[in-house]
């Protein structure tokens, strides 16, 4: 039957969209943990702004994913909230780096820097997706991410080329985070087929990402780790122990009082 390939494509598209939504949501949720705890009121607001940008991106992707899923789903229509609040850890497809703890300020800056730089090159390509909705979300998000890269790059330079203490903390953070950067450039099953030009070949942005990260690190007088073994699994639903705790907190209200609104 000729409807079968379409169904497969739609489920790939749903998974792909969910993967993008999950990474933005989990990263945004993590950063929102800084709200009220920033080292200074100015940075507290800055990081909360970034968190809100990411949660906004996640909402766009979840709404679209719900639309795709509902095409096949006639009996009960799902919403963006169902996707964010009622899926379990093994169904989440976010990058592992987004779920790692915030740690100290240097670790948080490192996370934003690595992830935002990936988003920056990724969205630049997703704009040319044959899928109009993904392209539009990429276009809107790119402006936000461009600032996140600038903001976090400035902090990497400030900490790396700052005091002995700030440098030591950033070096520790980069060593901790580095093994989680590899999976960002390895296509998952749902993005392995690109005949219809919907998704981005993530392996193609690895060089740009590495060049940018090296360049900023050099400005910060830091050397990047080389030939490290890389973690993977996030896109397949195999997560670190940290995601369960995030979901327990984030999903508590909807799990306890299903359908609650305010």
């Amino acid at each position: 039957m000729d409807s079968k390939p379409t169904n497969i494509d739609k489920s790939y598209l749903a998974d792909y969209t969910l993967h993008l939504a999950d990474s933005s949501l989990i990263m945004g949720h993590r950063l929102s943990e800084w709200t009220g705890h920033g080292p200074m009121i100015e940075q507290d607001i800055a990081i909360s702004n970034i968190a809100l940008d990411l949660i906004g991106q996640a909402r766009n992707f979840y709404q679209y994913a719900a639309e795709i899923i509902n095409l096949e789903n006639t009996e009960k229509k799902i919403t963006e909230d169902d996707l964010a609040y009622l899926r379990d850890t093994f169904e989440f497809k976010n990058f592992l780096i987004t779920e790692l703890p915030n740690g100290d300020w240097a670790q948080t800056i490192g996370k934003i820097f690595f992830f935002s730089t990936w988003q920056f090159y990724f969205y630049q390509k997703l704009i040319y997706s044959s899928d109009k909705q993904l392209s539009a979300i990429a276009d809107k998000s790119l402006k936000e991410v461009t600032y996140h890269v600038k903001w976090s790059s400035d902090w990497v330079m400030r900490l790396g080329d700052g005091t002995d203490e700030s440098r030591k903390r950033l070096v520790t953070a980069i060593e901790y985070l580095w093994p989680y950067t590899g999976e960002m450039f390895v296509p998952a099953e749902f993005e392995s087929n690109n005949e219809d030009q919907v998704n981005v070949d993530v392996s193609s942005i690895k060089k740009d990402w590495h060049d940018k990260v090296s360049c900023v690190s050099a400005e910060a007088t830091l050397a990047l780790p080389t030939n490290t073994w890389m973690q993977s699994g996030g896109k397949k639903g195999i997560h670190t122990e940290h995601l369960g705790y995030i979901l327990a907190e984030m999903q508590y209200l909807q799990r306890t009082y299903p359908g609650l609104e305010w």
């Binding site: 080292p39 200074m40 009121i41 100015e42 940075q43 607001i45 800055a46 702004n49 600032y147 600038k150 903001w151 400035d154 400030r158």
Partner: protein, 96 residues
């Protein structure tokens, strides 16, 4: 570590979408000018308040002394003839 001690205070001026001039929006702490501009963006323009930002370190602002307010400003109080409201305008001139 007392960061406030290390980071100087900056005055922030924002030009709004409608306005031609930059208006004083407030002040904040930052380590350098670049950080001051980014902080100002995050603190003062997150609700679409601005299209341009100026920052200047507060120590470079020179101000009048409140103790001198009498001699500085009160002499202008009884010089209403300095306002351009004493001309007879022709009727054709509207919207003045």
């Amino acid at each position: 570590m007392d960061q406030k001690k290390e980071e100087p205070l900056w005055e922030v001026f924002i030009r709004s979408r409608q306005g031609l001039e930059h208006k004083h929006a407030g002040s904040l702490h930052a380590a350098d000018a670049q950080m001051a501009i980014e902080n100002a963006r995050d603190v003062y323009t997150r609700r679409m308040e601005g299209v341009s930002i100026w920052v200047v370190e507060s120590k470079y602002i020179h101000a009048t002394n409140p103790d001198e307010a009498e001699s500085f400003f009160e002499p202008a109080n009884d010089k209403i003839y300095r306002h351009p409201t004493f001309y007879d305008l022709p009727d054709e001139l509207k919207y003045m």
